[in-house]
Amino acid sequence: AQSVAQPEDQVNVAEGNPLTVKCTYSVSGNPYLFWYVQYPNRGLQFLLKYITGDNLVKGSYGFEAEFNKSQTSFHLKKPSALVSDSALYFCAVRVPPPGGGNKLTFGTGTQLKVEL
């Protein structure tokens, strides 16, 4: 079985400061890892993914994430937060066949609040 943990329900950060949203995972096999963002009353918007290759992946809106296999983590980061980054962030994992299936397993989400 695969699972994702987002240990923080909410993260507060001042605009201009760096932000980190934490994600750890548990899988059997090599994971594909994703971050999605959800704005109020909107669907999920893809931010970035790790499939293979460089552990540091860069995505939309200046976000990046680092795949750490030994710590089974995939934390989302941004060097300088904006008020417009305030949203609900989801980490997700998939282990493709033959070791896994086709669905994404999501974390419970972390509400990011960026204040002036």
Partner: protein, 115 residues
């Protein structure tokens, strides 16, 4: 290009009624998913379609839920005899089935309220 679209955006129904939710995936995407987002359960996988293969129905919560995908494109999720616990946002996603593009793109969702 156009993204994933879903209709209706909101649906209010009475307990016991049947509802149909529609998803139009991104053109050319062969994989299609349904998920449910609810306060108590977070984001849950419901069903997956890939081309002409048999769908993966492992996430459907009961036999009141069913889905079909006609012509490898549009999909309909049907909930029969709706219950109040079915109230949630139902999200559809589509994906190109290549490793390099292994990304699911989500629609805006249908908010279902069962009174």
């Amino acid at each position: 290009g156009a993204g994933v679209s879903q209709s209706p955006s909101n649906k209010v129904t009475e307990k016991g009624k049947d509802v149909e939710l529609r998803c139009d995936p991104i053109s050319g995407h062969t994989a299609l998913y349904w998920y449910r987002q609810s306060l108590g359960q977070g984001l849950e996988f419901l069903i997956y379609f890939q081309g002409n293969s048999a769908p993966d129905k492992s996430g459907l919560p009961s036999d009141r839920f069913s889905a079909e995908r006609t012509g490898g494109s549009v999909s309909t999720l049907t909930i029969q005899r709706t219950q109040q616990e079915d109230s949630a946002v139902y999200l559809c996603a589509s994906r190109l089935t290549r490793v390099s593009t292994d990304t699911q793109y989500f629609g805006p969702g249908t908010r279902l309220t069962v009174l």
